[in-house]
């Protein structure tokens, strides 16, 4: 029992939180439709967090994420305004993001510059480019309906956004856990020197991780734009810390100390559920913050209780 709690503590915490809110608000919170809706609300955060998970698998941070999300939104609308057809525009956005990721990954791995400062610098540059593309303004109009449909509406009663989440999560899980490259990324993250001694190519594999993170962030930028119908040059600002919170919550969830996709999903779900539940209960903003902080602490500590003291 204690072993169970220790092993799956964070998951247990999620279930407990859902149970508690369901009891507090059976009609509004504890309904199938609300729970389904939460999956849609958590999608954007979760996809950014999955990107962060891949980068953390190689033991690095990507702080350019927020800028890339904003860039993804602005650059797509910028291209629409130029009359570029939607599919082409989407490809261009993802490709540009891929280039940013490749640059960060290359600098980090080839020159062994700390990823923290590298991605902060690259993120600042991307922020500048985004401001330049948008003139600092929120862009609205000229967004094709087909593009907007990427993130709105439902199919079989399930929000389209939820399908994106499922798709990205399965892909990332397969890549990290089921195919060779995932093992290489984790080897680099777990012991870079050992991986190098074993002949794992550090530069190219690290680049792959940063490219994945950037491409997913840009995808989120586009989905956000599709969802709200406009793009702001600072629209991605809110994602960075919450995404890493989700990853770190998830690192305590299943495998100790390793960023992993199922864990990140649990982490993102905790954040989304708490936000949803507290708003439904009408808790004031400052109380929401205090309670959210306490719940996150509790969720990571539940794993720890009973762990041997030092």
């Amino acid at each position: 029992m204690t072993t169970f709690v220790r092993r799956y503590g964070t998951l247990v915490a999620l279930v407990a939180i859902i149970a508690a809110f369901s009891i507090a608000s059976p009609q509004a919170f504890g309904t199938a439709s609300n729970l389904i809706n939460i999956t849609q609300q958590m999608t954007l955060l979760a996809i950014v967090a999955i990107g962060a998970t891949v980068v953390m698998a190689v033991g690095e941070f990507d702080l350019s994420t927020a800028s890339v999300v904003s860039f993804g939104g602005i650059f797509s609308v910028f291209l629409f305004k130029l009359g570029v057809p939607a599919p082409l525009a989407c490809l261009a956005v993802l490709a540009a993001a891929g280039v940013f990721g490749a640059v960060s990954g290359f600098i980090v791995a080839r020159f062994e510059v700390l990823s923290f400062i590298t991605t902060l610098a690259v993120g600042t540059i991307i922020g500048g480019i985004t401001f330049w593309l948008s003139n600092g303004a929120t862009l609205f109009g000229d967004i094709p309906a087909g593009f907007r449909d990427l993130a709105r509406g439902k199919s079989f009663g399930i929000p389209i956004l939820t399908f994106w989440l499922i798709g990205v999560a399965i892909m990332a899980w397969l890549v990290l856990d089921k195919i060779e490259i995932g093992r290489r990324l984790y080897a680099i993250g777990g012991n870079r020197e050992a991986a190098r001694l074993a002949g794992v190519r550090i530069v190219s594999n690290t680049m792959v991780a940063f490219i994945a993170s950037a491409v997913l962030a840009a995808l989120v930028g586009m989905l956000l734009t599709a969802r709200i119908g406009s793009a702001s040059p600072t629209g991605g600002g809110g994602f960075l810390l919450s995404a890493y919170a989700a990853v770190f919550l998830g690192m305590t969830a299943f495998r100790e100390g390793e960023a992993n996709v199922p864990g990140t999903l649990v982490g993102a779900a905790i954040i989304a559920v708490v936000g949803n539940g507290l708003t439904i209960l009408g808790v004031s903003t400052f109380m929401q913050d205090i309670i959210t902080g306490l719940i996150i602490l509790a969720a990571v500590l539940v794993r720890r209780t009973g762990a041997q003291g030092r």
């Binding site: 397969l174 195919i179 060779e180 290489r184 012991n191 050992a194 001694l197 074993a198």
Partner: protein, 518 residues
């Protein structure tokens, strides 16, 4: 092969691998200074030399990790430039590096495949096939090794076994280089490794075997090369030399070996351990160590020796019972309390538990004794001059081969790193010395120094608790031995009953019991 050939370099044309005139310097330090090495196919070749002689550097040139400044490498008589790890792998070279390099979150199975082609089912990794591949090898080398727990949770010895298995699986190798593979193995496991080495060489695989355990070198190797200060000073067939000859070539000196001594019968008890619950089954242990005594702890890999020593050191709180030092009760789980009362500890895994690699040598030597390097007693200001003095004292007493005290410890060879862990306790009035594999990876000369040191501590009235996997060392230092098996003390041996055979029997006792029960 009828007539023995004293100088193998003369027969380089028959050799599978030849290194000629290798040079490599790090800053001002010459790690290699004209080293030669000739290895015949299917032979087990021993590379020996003192700590810092350049052995590890030499083999790193073979793995492509280090590019030599000068010299050439010939494989099958043809010169090659080894461009990197993968190139070395493609030449059929496999390596067990001196410092453990494993991914702590990965299991043994996962670690074994890093950098190797994975077995696949469609696009996916075939975990079952991975496990099957390593199971076979694991069975012959280490039947008890858990394959499915993260190696971060394993003992040092178990990690060492994982490294060995890793080098043995996969595409057939032409050369396996083992840099001190047995440093943390006890005789049982080492014997299994020796068998495996034999099997490989029978299949025509060449083995370069680096070890400071000269007895095993004598036992399993066919030929040898001796390095001194980065230079080859001798080579030949093992059959034509002896232990003393090797030692002489390595150091130019003779080996000193002492004998274990019992303390005077009336000497007071220094460490008293009473009813401390320990091990998975929570059995209680009790024992005493008297002033001047070096108590040995022996057991197989994973028997629980290190855990017991850590418990006494206060690294984990114990749930009951009592530990006393000089009659004073030690607070459970409080290391600083022990240091204040004169206890000292040398951990077994110097990289992960011993050295703070990002800090200087001087800092590593001062960290447990910071008040000793104050400018002025009573004020917390640290004096750099005193830190340097302390480093110099350690350097000369233990003959540590090092550059500046402000260099990082990783610029030292493995054996010299080990000496730093001893140096940490210099200048303390030591009452209890806890040594976990104290001479792991140190050369015979330094080992003698460390032994002398342990004896000196004991002679000054300290109690010494030592774990070693090296039977010679055990016999040389301890007149009383506790044997652990699966977390329980299975025997206490002393006097006439203390013989290597009895010790090993006791260590295996539990296992045989388990087997007979099944």
């Amino acid at each position: 092969m009828t007539k023995p050939e004293p100088d193998l370099t003369l027969r380089a044309d028959h050799a599978f691998l030849t290194l000629r005139g290798l040079k490599k310097h790090f800053g001002g330090a010459k790690a290699l200074d004209g080293a030669d090495l000739v290895v015949e196919a299917g032979s087990v070749h021993s590379l020996v030399g003192e700590n810092g002689a350049g052995k590890s550097t030499l083999i790193k040139t073979l793995s492509g990790l280090i590019v030599p400044d000068a010299g050439e490498i010939l494989v099958d008589g043809l010169p090659v430039t080894i461009a990197g790890v993968q190139h070395a792998e493609s030449l059929g070279f496999r390596f067990i590096h001196q410092e453990l390099s494993l991914v702590p979150y990965f299991t043994a199975v996962e670690n074994a495949f890093i950098g190797r082609p994975y077995p696949r089912k469609g696009p996916f990794i075939d975990r079952a096939a991975m496990r099957r591949t390593i199971e076979e090898t694991a069975r012959s080398i280490a039947p008890d090794l858990p394959l499915d727990i993260p190696v971060g949770q394993m003992t040092t010895g178990q990690k060492q076994l994982v490294e060995i298995i890793r080098a043995l699986i996969g595409a057939p190798a032409r050369l396996i280089v083992m840099d001190e593979p047995t440093a943390s193995l006890s005789d049982g496991e080492a014997a299994r490794l020796h068998e495996a080495v034999k099997k490989m060489s029978d299949k025509g695989v060449a083995v370069i075997f680096i070890s400071h355990r000269l007895d095993e070198v004598m036992q399993i190797c066919d030929s040898f090369t001796v390095l001194r200060s980065g230079c080859t000073v001798g080579a030949g067939r093992i059959a034509e030399t002896d232990r003393a000859g090797l030692v002489h070539l390595m150091s130019g000196r003779e080996e000193v070996r002492g004998a274990a001594q019992m303390p005077a019968p009336d000497s007071p008890v220094v460490l008293r351990v009473r009813d401390v619950p320990y091990g998975s089954r929570g059995t209680q242990v009790s024992f005493d160590i008297r002033a001047g005594e070096i108590l040995g702890l022996y057991g197989l890999v994973g028997a629980g020796r290190s855990s017991l020593m850590k418990l006494i050191w206060g690294a984990q709180p114990h749930a009951g019972g009592q530990i006393e030092l000089d009659g004073k009760v030690l607070r459970a789980g409080r290391i600083s309390d022990r240091i204040a009362k004169g206890a000292a500890y040398v951990p077994e895994d110097r990289r992960n538990e011993g050295l703070i690699t990002s800090r200087s040598i001087a800092d590593n030597l001062a960290v447990s004794q910071l008040p000793k390097v104050r400018h002025q007693a009573g004020m917390p200001w640290t004096s750099r001059r005193k830190m340097v003095e302390r480093s110099e004292a350690v350097q000369s007493t233990l003959s540590v081969k090092m550059g500046s005290p402000w260099d990082g410890p990783l610029t030292l060879s493995g054996g010299n790193q080990q000496k730093l862990l001893f140096g940490r306790w210099f200048g303390q009035a030591t009452r209890l010395l806890i040594l976990d594999e104290p001479s792991r990876g140190v050369d015979v000369g330094a080992k003698a120094e460390i032994h002398a040191l342990a004896r000196r501590f004991a002679a000054q009235g300290a109690a010494v608790l030592m774990t070693t996997s090296d039977m010679d060392e055990l016999m040389a230092l301890s007149a009383r031995v506790l044997v652990l098996a699966s977390g329980e003390i299975t025997a206490e041996l002393t006097g006439d009953s203390l013989t290597p055979t009895r010790v090993i029997d006791a260590a295996f006792q539990h296992q045989t019991e388990k087997e007979t029960q099944v």
